[in-house]
Symmetry: C2
Amino acid sequence: MNSNMNATLRHSLLAAALVGALALGTTVSHAADPLPSWNDGPAKQAIVDFVRATTAKGSPKFVPPAERIATFDNDGTLWCEQPMYFQFIFALDRVKALAPQHPEWKEKEPFASLLKGDLKEALAGGVRSMLEIVMATHAGMTTEEFEQTVKDWLATAKHPQFNRPYTECVYQPMLELLAYLRANGFKTFIVSGGGIEFMRPWTERVYGIPPEQVIGSSIKAQYEMRDGKPVLVRLPEINFIDDKAGKPFGIDEHIGRRPVAAFGNSDGDQQMLEWTQGGGGARLMMLVHHDDATREFAYGADSKIGAFSDALMAEANKNGWTVISMKNDWKTVFAFEK
Amino acid sequence: MNSNMNATLRHSLLAAALVGALALGTTVSHAADPLPSWNDGPAKQAIVDFVRATTAKGSPKFVPPAERIATFDNDGTLWCEQPMYFQFIFALDRVKALAPQHPEWKEKEPFASLLKGDLKEALAGGVRSMLEIVMATHAGMTTEEFEQTVKDWLATAKHPQFNRPYTECVYQPMLELLAYLRANGFKTFIVSGGGIEFMRPWTERVYGIPPEQVIGSSIKAQYEMRDGKPVLVRLPEINFIDDKAGKPFGIDEHIGRRPVAAFGNSDGDQQMLEWTQGGGGARLMMLVHHDDATREFAYGADSKIGAFSDALMAEANKNGWTVISMKNDWKTVFAFEK
């Protein structure tokens, strides 16, 4: 063996080692449980069965990779939504921060009550009051300024009960589910009633979902030149409400394909699950049920936020949708519990 | 050397051969011209320089893969738009096909003139007449029914001059550009004034652009249950016009990132190119100029369709946007020429 052949052999052995390592890696990841925070039970089984049926070659329910679309509600499905939608807490914090620039708010509802700390009185006007608070804090700036404000808030604000950044109040089992679906060729989308531009600054980092796969409610924006630079200025005018019957339209408009899997937790998700199931073939529809007052919150039919009505439960039973019991199906709720 | 080692050696050599083949493959694809239908010149050079600068490791203009967003207008940029927008030809054909179900059209403009073959009189009402024709042919059915109608039309309709299916009237150099960008980690999007649901049934097959990467004008749709099946029924009501200042908003709403490259051909694309350039760093803005009466069409400032005004040309010069001369920069226009 001359030195040249020796070098070839050395490279060959290195290559073989690499190939071996890759093969070993594959074996290990197949053997490992991709959903370690899920207890064994019907919910976990439904997920694993669905993924196997839609991805195994030769399976009668095989779904081509391009059609593997999975949609997720956000509030109450991927992250916590109690004691209030986090975006609304953001809006309240912004009212306080912006108050010095708005002396007129001292006399004007709902801001006056809000600044006095009387949330109940501030929201006495119902949806109209909430909308005024949202528009005053979400419009009037450029899209880039708003994005920065969201990032700054998330960097310091903490959940009142868990005392953690809001972006840590995400459900560990759902993070595993997102990763498991993506590892099997699914494209994961968020389809939320929350603001699209409130979610996009952090969904890629936290969920691995890039901005172009986030669908949400939105306000209009106007294109203009400011000092020779093009900007989009956010206007206090609703563009789209991505909730209930709006979800199938939002999905059609943004994705243009029907999902094969959809995940929600409240009445606002019913139409998304119906629309998903309506496509026929292998489908997975799941609803997170918040029944864990110890580790998170227990709420359902009577909740003002994220209501899971008796009618929705009846639909789930009738249509074969899987209800995920947070208490029984999840070994871990939040990563910070550990 | 025992037989076991022998087997190891054989595997090693096989692995080495594979590694070698892969390396060779890389070299070959680097050497081959990814843009064979482009003549050497400033336009082709601008594309190659941009891709190298944004993708080479260590380049000061390197753009991370997730941010490699490229947006393309469709009519006049990816496919032909003369003698009329193809979607409008589709609408005219649909009026004829639907006429038996609409006896009232015999007395009602713009349909009456259209059915008599008098297009000029039918369009005398300008935008309002066009909108009536579009709504009568694009609304009132489910999204799935509309998709099928588009597919059926494309399967038989032919371009009046080229006598080819419309989906063959696509620019070969732009197909190569799309593939070249994707091979370099760019995500390609359509951002067109055309109807989003008119494009999606064929963009994946023809351009390699999946439905979720198509942005366009749209009408509203209503979610409802028909015979227990969920459907979206298209309504005769504008939802969004994806043209001029609408394009940056459409991009922000659908993608949530600013493109680093944008391609258009008319006044309707100016704001998309401004918005792209406004992001700073390495950017590529290009405009197709239709100056080839022999192989395609020659039209510009005075065209009713796809106007490329003197003001746009001035903007292009001022901002350093590259104007692609169809006549000089393209070796081949359509694949069927060959």
